[in-house]
């Protein structure tokens, strides 16, 4: 694998639509669950070990060549909130566009044809990693990193949080991100022979509820 290629895919400036989403941070800020760096860290830690782990495992499995259609159904089954399923497909579609333009590949074309309105983002991420010549660990790293960097960046805008504090939160979570990546890749490898049902199904109920509440707001800064 090329470490430089990994940085291209992991870069927050990679034009795949993430800037318009807060990863649930906007709803959590409104609910008073995030008031500063401490609350942000707790929020990100919860997200990392639930939806972060699930997304990373899906991405790793897709990068290992597990059937993306089955993985997409597995992602649906692990995402109770309709709003979050919608956001994930929207981000998957946007990543698909950027990925096809950046690393043209037959597998991406097939997946785009199968899901013209978007497959789940982690599945597209895994197939993108394959197209870019990256491996399951790389895909999982991208996934866990964006699962915490997204809310951290959004909170800087939402609370005018000191950007150095927000970056410190993400940096402190790095060792935990390493551990989650190891679990996710292990689960992805098991799914190669054992099917998608062996993938983790951890869930953060408040994220799901918050996403539904957020989707009904008339005024909001972020799409999710």
């Amino acid at each position: 694998m090329s470490r430089a290629t990994l940085l291209v895919l992991a870069d927050g400036r990679f034009p795949a639509g993430g800037h318009a989403h807060s990863g649930g941070a906007e709803a959590a800020v409104k609910a008073g669950l995030i008031r500063g760096a401490e609350g942000l860290e707790a929020f990100c830690r919860g997200r990392l070990h639930t939806v972060g782990l699930v997304s990373a495992a899906l991405a790793a499995a897709a990068a290992l060549g597990v059937d993306p259609v089955a993985l997409d159904a597995a992602a649906d089954a692990r995402t109770p909130s309709l709003a979050l399923r919608g956001a994930s497909r929207k981000l998957g579609r946007q990543l698909m566009r950027a990925a096809r333009a950046t690393w043209p590949s037959g597998e991406l074309d097939v997946l785009a044809r199968e899901f013209p309105k978007g497959a789940h983002q982690p599945v597209v991420l895994g197939v993108t990693a394959r197209a870019a010549g990256l491996g399951p660990e790389d895909a999982a790293y991208c996934s866990v990193y964006e699962s915490v960097s997204g809310p951290a960046g959004a909170t800087v805008r939402l609370l005018s949080l000191d950007p150095f504090d927000a970056t410190g939160v993400v940096a402190r979570l790095a060792p935990e991100m390493d551990r989650v990546v190891r679990s996710a890749v292990e689960a992805g490898r098991e799914a190669v022979g054992g099917g998608v049902d062996v993938l983790p199904a951890a869930s953060g109920p408040l994220l799901e509820i918050g996403a539904e509440v957020h989707a009904a707001w008339a005024v909001r800064l972020f799409a999710s």
Partner: protein
């Protein structure tokens, strides 16, 4: 000039500015409208829709920063049927959505063409922003920058990418000039200095001429696009 079918993208989503859709048809011309908050972008879009809707198949994408107000204004004014107006959410950063990461806007444009097409023209209205906001060439074929006389008659002199490089500069609300002490002659001279040969339109949507000049410019762009 763009015809190169060997490079047509296979599948449902074309990439960025491809002039041809996956089905081989030429896509609609896309014109972006940007400019500061309150300068009259939405009012100009509404007037353009009224002026052009009987002769062209058109649709609108709005980029609201934190509400759906612009889309709702257009719906309330009934300038187009609701299925021809789409709102994109921009995550507190309107210029990102039209310049740095255009994916959500591209999707909105393509979905409109899929659902209510074929279309001749799609207007993409940016959320109100600052003087540096410009549209990516991957998203639009031409852009209009809308400022107004009440925002200060020194804006053309200040320049910036919007004023300097937009394909058309619109100085709006000229009817207010006497009330806010803006010197239209000075604005015209400054704009000329910043933009050389690029066109500038002074308009008041409250006057009888209304959006006529801008509509004429849009027709010219469309004629060039389909030529």
């Amino acid at each position: 000039m763009h015809l190169d079918h060997d490079h047509l993208h296979d599948g449902p989503s074309a990439v960025s500015a491809d002039a041809y859709r996956p089905d081989g048809r030429r896509r609609a011309l896309r014109i972006g409208l940007g400019g500061p908050v309150g300068s009259g972008k939405t009012a100009t879009v509404a007037a353009l829709c009224r002026a052009l809707r009987d002769e062209l198949a058109l649709a609108v994408v709005t980029n609201d920063i934190y509400t759906r107000e612009d889309a709702e204004f257009l719906l309330r004014e009934a300038v187009l049927p609701p299925e021809r107006i789409t709102a994109v959410e921009t995550g507190a950063c309107p210029h990102t959505a039209i310049r740095d990461d255009i994916s959500a806007n591209l999707e909105a444009v393509e979905d409109l063409e899929d659902e209510v097409g074929p279309l001749d023209l799609v207007l993409v209205e940016s959320g109100g922003d600052n003087l540096t906001a410009t549209f990516s060439k991957g998203l639009v074929d031409a852009q209009i920058f809308v400022i107004d006389v009440a925002g200060g008659d020194d804006i053309p002199r200040k320049g910036g990418p919007g004023v300097t490089t937009a394909d058309l500069l619109v100085v709006n609300k000229t009817d207010l000039a006497p009330y806010v002490g803006s010197d239209l002659g000075r604005m015209a001279a400054d704009a000329k200095a910043q933009r050389a040969e690029l066109p500038v339109v002074f308009q008041s949507l409250r006057s009888e001429a209304g959006v006529t000049d801008v509509a004429a410019w849009v027709r010219e762009r469309l004629a060039a696009w389909t030529a």
